[in-house]
């Protein structure tokens, strides 16, 4: 197909964390993105969460930067409040009809100040807070929403007209009509997320009847500082702090009665998190979690689970709660359950139902309109080797829409879908994106500062408290201020024109805006002054709204005084501002992929398909890694056949250079400019590195007679024998968690439970009379894998649970294996004499990881897996830019998950490789060579590995620190560490900070004299 036939744009349907990640990856690698969201603002479910496991990060704090980035990315067009109506065409060239419902507010005029909602007399249920709070008929979902545009709820509005009267920006437009947009795109990604299970369908738990039974997502809002109770957990019935809270797991999951047989994958972990946070918020709260199997299968999840038990004192009760009944007098909840065969009852102050994930309400409609298939459970259908592809070519999927999953897997998949969407239209990259052109910069060197000050009323948000005219007059009296004015909204489009005009008219060489927060608005104003010919860094902001008028609403005089001080401080700094240069770094557009297992192969092949020259390095003489040892997948798909196919494709692809039987010897350089030497002597230059070194199955060190009795083997060894038809006998015992969830390796190896089901089912298929026993601690067949567990149970596989502290004892009785254990559920001893004992052995990091990590300047976990930049939102990145992570090297995972992450690494890598140059940060550290004596104290403080001690070129035998501006992120950690005062941070120099301090402190005297 000719280049012109493919449209260099992608539509992403669904603006949750999944859609956001896809959109940002694509927009950063040369594609135009239309991000379509059904709600009025993007953010999805993650924006509702209080904290996230296992790091307990504040969800909004880590998500907001992505929201803001998507909101103002010049290659992303947000289309919110919109639905997909028609999809015509085929892969590479779709025409999508989108219906955008009316906001009844002009998005180009609304500044998000909120005056309208304050005055709106109509109250409605606040969906963002799950009905625990009230919003108005004109509203934004939440204060940090993107886009921050109010919209009118057509169901609730009575048309009184008050909002229009209140809106100083004249943004309310009652006549706004639905818009129908026709958009041409080359690929589509669907990521509409999930819905929560409707807890009313489980009437035995009393949700909707008893006020003190809440869902987990409601509880999430109850924990949040921005939620109804400001973070104190209260009972909805009477506002008391509940002393005892019960969490009931699997509500709407693993439950054929409600139609959802699958496991929702995330509830165990979020309940542990909610229990910990609840306890942190109120020390006297005693949480109990009622569960069947604790499914803490992800990276470092078991450690989190252990801490919950041992450090936080969370109580875990292994039982499915049967029913919940209210004590009408106390409103306490009585939970009925069975523990160790005995029926019990216990009273709690509050019950939290861990509701499962169901397909989104519009799943069927989406599938019909977009013509892709759903699976039996109503989620989007994907394949074992195509985890991000729908059944319709050119339409890709990511996130919980294809199966219930947690945020890190969602983010990895979102990048994976972005890679696939990009490959489809790679020939049209950079055809629809725009590049901003700015006028030549005015040289301000040596010129006396001429500052223009713009002070914002923000409707009445600032002006209603702070005396803005007074602040403006005051600003005029300050040194170097040649112009000052006040604006109704300094951020409005007309105000930007005004700022540019005034820069010209008064020959301004510094601009100060006193308005809201620089975190959201600085880039806007910086862009404006760049358009006026000034360097972006000649700008300073005073936050007189979020940190003045809004918090001193009842003290207008004191607030005005503070606003003056903030303006004076900003001015003091502005006088010392200097133009900073964003250095351009050349990018080598080749890639190095380390590891030739399924992850490395998929990454290499996808990069090659996007036109990238790839060096694929594999230690073994052949490709495949662990994929060669699997032989069976529970779904029935054939991994051997898949391996053969990919192997052939790789060998046929001219962009891939294979380096088999060799490993990496050295890697030097940084993003865009790496240089690598292999042990076979070959050398290469490349712009990025994908780490896909994998892991290996743990070989038991004498446990359970391994290595001593020929009939004791690991799971992979067993599957190998099965493939060759070497398995004999009619009784089998599988022992789970061998080398996992133990002292040295406290975490779960994720794949062994499902792998065991595959093997057990295979045995039963061949010989239905075979006796198969699985000895386990928790069965962790999460997601749709639950059905293989169920299948095994139906086929007659016997499951016996043993206690963590009471492992089975295996003895050799004259060549025959004897297994003894206590069945935890019955308390009775069981003796088994199998023909074959299979050890579901855990996963270990690959050998050589410890040598590779320091070469790449990246860290490892204490178990030895590679540690990503952020466990929740950056599962593929490292803090070191240009190095990416995929597959088991990150943590144990299934083939489909490895493929998704490997594709994700491609999308992340393409954000670099799609460019010939990279723009470095302007705010970076710099060294005064006069003072640096190369002591190196600064080096370990840098998370980004931007500092290096090198020989001082000018002075013999002396060392000096070198700042790699390509890697420096401008945090200033090194500046604070430097004992010689040799390091400074551009844009935050000592004298700039001290000038602000002087300005802050000078004020009292002068002001008091005046008043």
């Amino acid at each position: 197909m000719a280049t012109t036939d493919k449209v260099g744009a992608v539509m992403v349907v669904g603006g949750g964390i999944s859609g956001l990640q896809s959109a940002l990856d694509l927009a950063d690698s040369g594609y135009k993105v239309y991000l379509v969201e059904k709600n009025a603002s993007i953010g999805g479910t993650m924006a509702q969460l209080d904290k996230t496991f296992p790091t307990n990060d504040c969800a909004m704090c880590i998500m907001a930067p992505k929201l803001v980035a998507a909101g103002r990315h010049h290659n992303i067009q947000l289309i919110t409040n919109a639905d997909i109506a028609i999809v015509d065409g085929q892969a590479g060239n779709f025409t999508v009809t989108v219906r955008q419902r009316a906001f009844r507010v002009d998005p180009t005029k609304c500044t998000g100040c909120g005056s309208c909602a304050q005055k709106c007399p109509i109250e409605a249920v606040d969906e963002y807070n799950e009905g625990t709070k009230i919003r108005k008929a004109i509203y934004v979902a939440y204060p940090q929403a993107v886009p921050l545009i109010y919209s009118i709820d057509p169901e609730k509005c009575i048309g009184c007209g008050i909002c229009a009267e209140e809106c100083k920006a004249k943004a309310v437009d009652y006549d706004q009509k639905e818009k129908v947009l026709e958009i041409k795109v080359g690929s589509i990604i669907v990521s509409p997320g999930f819905d929560e299970f409707n807890a009313r369908l489980k009437p035995e738990y009393g949700y909707g009847v008893y006020p003190n039974v809440v869902t987990s997502i409601e509880f999430e809002r109850m924990l949040s500082a921005t939620g109804p109770y400001f973070g104190t957990v209260l009972r909805p019935s009477d506002g008391d702090i509940p002393e005892k809270i019960a969490f009931i797991q699997c509500v709407g999951s693993r439950d054929e009665h409600c139609g959802n047989e699958y496991c929702s994958s995330v509830c165990c972990m979020y309940s542990i998190k909610e229990a910990i946070i609840a306890k942190e918020h109120g020390g006297n709260i005693k949480p109990s979690i009622f569960f069947m199997d604790m499914r803490a299968f992800g990276k470092e999840f078991d450690e989190y689970y252990n801490r919950a038990k041992n450090e936080h004192g969370i109580r875990f009760v292994r039982s499915r709660a049967a029913a919940v009944v209210e004590n009408p007098k106390t409103k306490n909840m009585m939970i009925k359950y069975v523990e160790n065969g005995e029926p019990k009852e216990e009273e709690f102050g509050l019950v939290v139902l861990a509701v499962g994930l169901t397909p989104p309400a519009d799943a069927e409609n989406l599938s019909r309109v977009m013509k892709f298939r759903l699976n039996d459970d109503g989620f989007c259908q994907t394949g074992a080797f195509s985890p991000v592809e729908t059944s319709r070519p050119g339409i890709f999927v990511s996130g919980a829409f294809s199966s219930p999953k947690d945020i890190p897997m969602t983010v990895a998949e979102a990048s994976g879908a972005a890679a696939k969407a990009g490959t489809e239209i790679t020939t049209s990259r950079n055809t629809l994106v725009t590049k901003k052109v700015y006028p030549k910069e005015i040289d301000v060197a040596g010129k006396e500062p001429r500052v223009g000050v713009f002070i914002c009323h923000c409707g009445i948000n600032i002006g209603g408290v702070v005396n803005v005219p007074e602040v403006m007059e005051y600003a005029k009296t300050l040194p170097n201020v040649v112009y000052a004015e006040q604006n109704l909204y300094t951020c409005s489009a007309d105000a930007q024109e005004k700022i540019k005009e005034k820069v010209k008219e008064h020959d301004l060489n510094r601009v100060v805006v006193a308005s809201c927060t620089p975190r959201t608005h600085e880039p806007l104003f910086q862009n404006t002054i760049r358009e006026a010919g000034l360097n972006a860094y000649l700008f300073e902001m005073a936050n007189i709204r979020d940190q003045c008028s809004w918090i001193h609403m009842h003290e207008p005089k004191a607030a005005t005084k503070k606003a003056k001080a903030l303006v004076r401080m900003a001015l003091a700094k502005s006088r010392l501002l200097e133009p900073l240069e964003n250095l351009m770094i050349d990018v080598n557009q080749d890639a190095l992929v380390i590891g030739g297992g399924v992850s490395g192969m998929v990454s290499a092949l996808e990069l090659a398909k996007q036109g990238i020259k790839v060096h694929l390095v594999e230690r073994e003489k052949e490709l495949g890694g662990n994929l060669r040892k699997l032989h069976y997948l529970p779904s029935g798909d054939d991994p051997d056949e898949y391996l053969k196919k990919v192997d052939q494709e790789i060998r046929a692809n001219k962009n891939i250079t294979l380096h088999l039987g060799t490993t990496v010897k050295t890697i030097d350089g940084y993003v865009g400019n790496f240089k690598t030497q292999l042990t076979d002597g070959s050398e290469m230059e490349h712009g990025v590195v994908v780490v896909a070194v994998g892991g290996r199955e743990y070989k038991p060190e004498g446990e359970y007679l391994y290595g001593k009795n020929a009939n004791v083997m690991t799971l992979l060894e067993f599957k190998g024998k099965m493939k060759k038809g070497e398995v004999k006998g009619d009784s089998y015992v599988f022992i789970q968690c061998v080398g996992s969830r133990e002292d040295k390796f406290p975490n779960c190896s994720r794949v062994c439970c499902t792998g065991t089901m595959t093997a057990a089912n295979k045995i039963k298929d061949k010989d239905p009379n075979a006796k198969v026993y699985v000895l386990y601690r928790d069965i962790r067949t999460y997601g749709f894998r639950e059905k293989y567990y169920k299948e095994a149970a139906q086929k007659g596989v016997t499951f016996i649970r043993f206690d963590d502290e009471k492992k089975p004892v295996v003895e050799d009785k004259g060549g025959k294996i004897e297994v003894r254990l206590i069945d935890e559920d019955t308390g009775k001893e069981v003796v088994l004499r199998p023909d074959c004992l299979v050890l579901a052995s855990g996963t270990r990091p690959e050998e050589g990881s410890e040598e590779l990590a320091p070469m790449l300047k990246v860290p490892l976990t204490k178990e030895g897996f590679f540690l990503e930049a952020h466990m929740k939102l950056r599962p593929i990145d490292f803090a070191t830019e240009g190095v990416y992570l995929a597959g088991i090297a990150h943590s144990p995972k299934f083939v489909d998950e490895s493929i998704a992450q490997a594709l994700g690494a491609v999308a992340r890598a393409m954000t670099i490789l799609s460019k010939t140059t990279l723009e470095a940060e302007g705010i970076v550290a710099s060294v005064d060579e006069q003072y640096c004596d190369g002591c190196g104290i600064c080096v370990p403080t840098c998370e980004y590995k931007a500092l290096e001690i090198i020989d001082n070129k000018d002075i013999k035998d002396k060392k000096i620190v070198d700042v790699n501006v390509g890697l420096c992120k401008g945090c200033g950690a090194c500046v604070g560490a430097c004992p010689a005062g040799a390091l400074t941070q551009k844009g935050f120099r000592d004298e700039q900070i001290l000038a602000m301090i002087d300005a802050a402190l000078e004020e009292p005297k002068k002001q008091e004299v005046k008043q």
């Binding site: 304050q118 048309g159 007209g161 506002g239 008391d240």
Partner: protein, 277 residues
């Protein structure tokens, strides 16, 4: 809520009867300059007699009387208020009395919420030519108020706080906006050119009045003493889950603050420098 109020009201009633005979009600009459005041004058000219209890106050139009004035007057101890205006369609100021009607509707809702019999407030249209009607109305109204007994607001702390809350609620932007717009929304249509169903807006206002009253009462009750949700629920005779929902909103608007609880029952205290209200 309403039913319990009625009970409270009946008790008051019974109690008031003891004082009958020795007690004379104090009644304030607001009369519009163009009709009712003229009607009252005509009544005098014509020598129609009526009881002495009423103290007339002349206003240019009945619409001048804002809900908070009425509540203030009851707070000050008046036993009845008569509001006289021109007949519908005859207002000297074209539409003033339409608004009066809407506001009286709100006042009566608030009186009911607060525990003062809404019958203590009477709206009558008396034209300049209806001298006889004026005397009949005053006589009848005086009897009604007499039967109701004295307004005990000054002796009853609980009632006083409820009337104060009603007073506060009457001043909220939300109720003023809804009542102020009601007429046009029903009569002329809203911004979408739809005429609202009178029953629908009536329902919205009734709910809003009840909510705003309860919120004001929470603030009123928690002004001098921090109180728990359960305590408030008991005093207010409102279900505790509803009280908690009000508190969620009041905290959001920085009108009330949680005191740091020692046990498991947090208490709330009104923040003295109010926000919007």
């Amino acid at each position: 809520m309403t039913e319990k109020h009625h009970t409270a009201h009946h008790q008051t009633h019974a109690h008031e009867k003891k004082h009958e005979g020795e007690w004379e009600p104090k009644i304030i009459g607001f009369l519009c300059n163009w009709c009712s005041y003229a009607g009252a004058d005509l009544c005098g000219v014509s020598r129609y007699q009526y009881p002495t209890n009423i103290r007339p106050v002349r206003v240019m139009c009945s619409t001048r009387i804002s809900p908070h004035l009425v509540l203030d007057i009851f707070k000050a101890g008046a036993d009845g208020i008569l509001l006289g205006g021109c007949h519908i369609g005859d207002c000297h100021y074209i539409s003033g009395n339409y608004y009066t009607e809407k506001r009286v509707n709100l006042m009566k809702k608030l009186l009911k919420e607060s525990g003062i019999a809404p019958e203590r407030l009477r709206l009558e249209w008396v034209s300049a030519s209806e001298g006889e009607k004026f005397s009949k109305v005053v006589t009848e109204f005086t009897e009604t108020v007499k039967a109701l007994g004295p307004n005990k607001v000054k002796k009853d702390e609980r009632l006083m706080s409820r009337v104060a809350a009603a007073d506060m609620a009457s001043e909220t932007f939300r109720l003023k906006a809804l009542v102020g717009k009601e007429l046009n929304l029903v009569g002329k249509g809203n911004v979408y050119d739809n005429k609202l169903d009178p029953e629908e807006i009536e329902k919205i206002i009734t709910e809003a009045t009840s909510d705003e009253f309860e919120r004001s009462l929470i603030l009123e009750l928690s002004r001098t003493k921090a109180r728990s949700v359960k305590e408030l629920g008991e005093i207010m005779e409102v279900p505790t889950d509803k009280v908690l929902r009000h508190i969620v909103l009041l905290r959001q608007n920085s009108l009330i603050a949680m005191e740091h609880p020692e046990g498991f029952t947090p208490t709330y205290k009104t923040i003295e420098i109010g926000g919007e209200q």
